[in-house]
Every structure is written in structure tokens, then in C-alpha cells.
């Protein structure tokens, strides 16, 4: 399966503009499946604007679904009246479903719990299939915890896509957050023998600045493709099952010990 990572610069709260951008990329892409960043239809640093844009975003979802083969993008879903979730839409050949963010960051600059309800792992861990590839999707912060991706891999995912909105922060010798994400996605790939694709937003939203730098790790833990920093970019790669197979022949992924999770559940 050929995938495209659409590293876009969403305009905060401007669903109409963001929708047009999605449609333009979908219409001009040669990939089988396109992945957009977290909350790509709305922008991330919405604060109270959340309450004003979620309905328009929900309407925009169907427009994307009707005009695409396989696309993954970020939006806000009202799961019950007044209960909103940070979501990704997985749209495949006219059918679509939502996945929800499980871990909502509230540390540092993030304040997601103020606006969103987290997903429920017992009902919301889902696997999708397209062009022979089983894949799962986790949103940003979920990749900073081992369980969501491990659960997807054990449920059969060959690839995990991570729509994200990762802002610049903490001046260090280098762009530390970029190194962190690279380590994270390589680690997930190596531990579970999967393709891992991180798709970041780019550009400013209020004081926050999203640095881009989207990248894909092969199951062998090699960065196959990398987008530019600080600019919109579109990058492509092929998700090949053969790499998954080979990685798992030579990894300990099959040796999952569930007693550790029993232990964790009591801690």
C-alpha cells in the first residue's frame, strides 16, 4: 500500500479552508491512502472555539468521505450531546469510522481534558484493512504510552499511523522533540514489528508552533522518509508486508507476557 503523509498547516477554527486543503490534496494524490495530522480539519489550539467548530467539522467529514478512497484525518466528534472527543476519521471506499484519543495531555501547554472526553480502550481499539494491510491509528499523545500501539499490534496491525500536533518547546542543543519522536516511532516499530508513521501539523496556532518533520519508520526501525521542518510538505512511502514479516522473524514480538498487564492493572 502506498501512503502519503500530508503535513499541512491547518488554519485555526477555519474548517472551510481546511476542508478545501484536504480535498485538494486528496484530488492530487497518487497514494492509496492519505494521512493528515491531528485535528487537521479544525486546528489544535482551539480552546473555546471547540464549541463553535465541531458541528461544521462533522459536516465536512462526509464531504471528504465522498471524495476519497482511503483517508485518515483529524476532527472533533460529538459522541453524545455535549460530549466531544478528539478523533480521527478512518474513511475507506465510502465507509468511515472514528477512533478516539485515549490519553489526553494536560501537562505543560496542553489542556485537552478541559474540552474532550477520552476514548475507552475496551471498545475503541480498532483495526482497519485496506489493500491487504491491517492498520491501526492512534492520536499523538497515545504514542507516548506503550499500551495503545501494543494493543493494536496484538490485534493484528501491520502498520500504525499517528496523526499528531506536536508543538515546538524546550530549547535544547537540537530540536529535542524531533529526536524524541524519532526514538518513539522507531521503538514502536522495533518492539512490535510494524510500520509506524508520524504525521505532524506545521505552522503557528497562537503561541504554539508545530514543527512538521513527519516521518515513517520501517519495522526494522529505519526512517524511510522524512518531511521538511517548519513547512508544509507531502511525503510518500510504500507499506510493505514483507518488511513486517522479516522483522517479526527476528524479534521477540510474539512473546507477549500478559501477566505484566495483570500486574500493571493492580498498580
Amino acid at each position: 500500500m502506498d501512503i502519503e503523509l500530508a503535513q499541512i498547516r491547518p488554519k485555526l477554527g477555519d474548517v472551510e479552508y481546511n476542508l478545501e486543503k484536504h480535498l485538494e490534496i486528496i484530488q492530487t494524490s497518487s497514494a492509496d491512502c492519505i494521512i493528515f495530522p491531528e485535528l487537521s480539519l479544525t486546528g489544535y489550539v482551539l480552546r473555546d472555539l471547540v464549541y463553535e467548530v465541531f458541528k461544521e467539522a462533522e459536516k465536512a467529514v462526509t464531504k471528504i468521505v465522498d471524495n476519497s478512497k482511503c483517508v485518515i484525518f483529524g476532527t472533533i466528534k460529538e459522541v453524545r450531546s455535549g460530549i466531544l472527543r478528539n478523533s480521527a476519521v478512518i474513511s475507506i471506499e465510502g465507509n468511515y469510522d472514528y477512533i478516539y484519543k485515549f490519553y489526553l495531555p494536560t501537562y505543560g501547554l496542553f489542556e485537552e481534558r478541559r474540552y474532550f472526553q477520552p476514548g475507552d480502550p475496551l471498545s475503541d481499539v480498532k483495526i482497519f484493512k485496506y489493500k491487504g494491510i491491517n492498520f491501526g491509528v492512534v492520536i499523538c499523545e497515545d504514542a507516548w504510552h506503550p499500551e495503545p500501539i501494543e494493543a493494536l499490534a496484538l490485534k493484528g496491525a501491520d502498520a500504525v499511523f499517528i496523526p499528531a500536533s506536536s508543538p515546538m518547546r524546550r530549547l535544547e542543543e537540537n530540536l529535542l522533540i524531533e529526536n524524541n519522536w524519532e526514538s518513539l516511532i522507531k521503538a514502536h516499530s522495533l518492539m512490535y514489528g510494524i510500520w509506524t508513521a508520524f504525521v505532524n501539523a506545521v505552522g503557528s496556532q497562537e503561541e504554539e508552533y508545530f514543527w512538521g518533520g513527519s516521518m515513517v519508520s520501517s519495522p526494522q526501525g529505519t526512517i524511510k522518509v522524512r518531511a521538511r521542518k517548519f513547512e508544509e510538505d507531502r511525503i510518500f512511502t510504500k507499506i510493505d508486508l514483507e518488511d513486517v514479516r522479516k522483522a517479526r522473524f527476528f524479534s521477540s514480538f510474539r512473546d507477549h507476557n500478559r501477566d505484566f498487564h495483570r500486574l500493571l492493572s493492580n498498580l
Binding site: 488554519k11 477554527g13 489550539v45 482551539l46 480552546r47 473555546d48 530549547l171 505552522g203 503557528s204
Partner: protein, 278 residues
Amino acid sequence: MQSVLQELKNVNYSVISEYIIRRISEYITESGKNGGIIGLSGGIDSSVTTVLLSKATQNYFILLMPSSSTPQKDMEDAKKIINMIGANNKYKIINIDTILESFKNEIKTNDKLVLGNIKARIRMILLYAYSQIMNYLVIGTGDKSELLLGYFTKYGDGGVDILPIGDLYKTQVRELGRYLGLPEDIVTKPSSPALWEGQTAEGELGVSYDIIDAVLYLRVEKMMDIDSIAKELQINVDIVRKIDRMVKTSQHKRLPPEIFRLSGRAINSDWRYPREWI
């Protein structure tokens, strides 16, 4: 002390300058303005910010706004920066003494602090007047050390549209200046608002920016307590207390004016819409 300063300085100035230049440029575009206007004093902060602005856009304009308390050296240094970036047709000198004089006649005071703050606010008014004429943004030059200490005039040099180097400590700004190729005497020049003759930031505070920055860095970034900082830096705990006190008492200068909440959604405290309203 040296190891803390080393840690503080050891950031990637190439990434930082690329980031700041890009953000200035994008912010100008996003706010629907045609460019940026900046007040250049010849000090390190405004020199660095001017160079960054000149790299972010061709559409910039520089005001030099000296008064009788402005050292001649500062004007010479400002000219050096103007030459360095090739801005000979993009600047104007406005001496603010006569404007200050009419304020002075009206309020009848010689208090240097009052008059010093008026100078800073006159400069702000001039910058905004030009910004409106040219449809430019006012580019602020404050750094993180000054902002944290409250070492700026509210609605004076604090009255700006953006603060591009506002998250860099003074010692980092100096390093960034070196990286950008500024003349070494500007890079190392003692920091001074020059609101009255002989005024220097360090003289007024009684400690060097090396100490101030090391203290601020450990307090703000490393979240260390006052006693541990004094111990770590081997300095008198009273210095740390003084700096900490300045940060606390100046908080009101960094925030928008307080609105007393009555309704269900008061502006600022509840009403959390972003600035990027559409």
C-alpha cells in the same frame, strides 16, 4: 556558575534563528500586515531583533529615537547595524526631546523614573503611528530576562505586537547576536535602557546578567528553590531572593489588565477564544 551558563547558552542558534525569522514572516502575513517596524537603540536586543526582522521580510522600517540621554556610541552602533543589513533607505531618526519637553511642562516633574517611562511610551506612540501609516506590525525587542524581571515600561517598550526574542535569556541573545555576525562590541555591550544618563540594567539591579540569567534559568526552567540556587551558584541567597521577588512583583506587567469577573464567561478568565479568530 559557568556550567549553568554553559548549559543555558548551549542551544542550536541555527534552528532558533530559522524559527524566529520564519515566525516573524508568517505572523506578519497572518495578521494581514505589510511588514514590521522596529525601534533600534544600538543595544544587543534591538540589534538582534532588527537583523532577524530584516531576514524575515524586505518590508521593514527602523526608527532611531534618541533623546539627550542617549549615548553617542548607541547611535553609532545603530548605524552599524543599519549598514550591516543594507537598510540605508529604511530608517528615520526622530529626536524625542521636544516631545518630552512638552510632557514635562504639563506634568511639572523632574523625577527621572517618571520621565524615563514617558520616553519609553513616546517611542511606543511613534512606532504605532508609523506602523499605522505603513500598515506594519510593531516588532518588540524585549528578551526573557527583562520580561521576567519586569525590566521594561508597561505600554512603553512593553507595548508591542510581538516579542520575537521574548523566550531567550539575555546571554542567549548575545550568543545569537554572535551567530548572526553582529559586531563584537555590540554583542558584549552592557545592557542599558538609557532612559537617563549612565543608566545600565546591571547597575540598577546590582548584579550582572550572567548571575541574573543563571538564577532565572535555574528558577524558571529547572524549578529549583531559592536556597538550592544560591548553593549551586555559590552566591549570596539575598541576590536570589531579590531576583525572585522582582519576577513575582512584576507579574502584573506581563499580563493584560485584570477584568473583575461577574458573568458566566468573563474575558480572559473564562472566555478562552484564541487570538487567531477568523
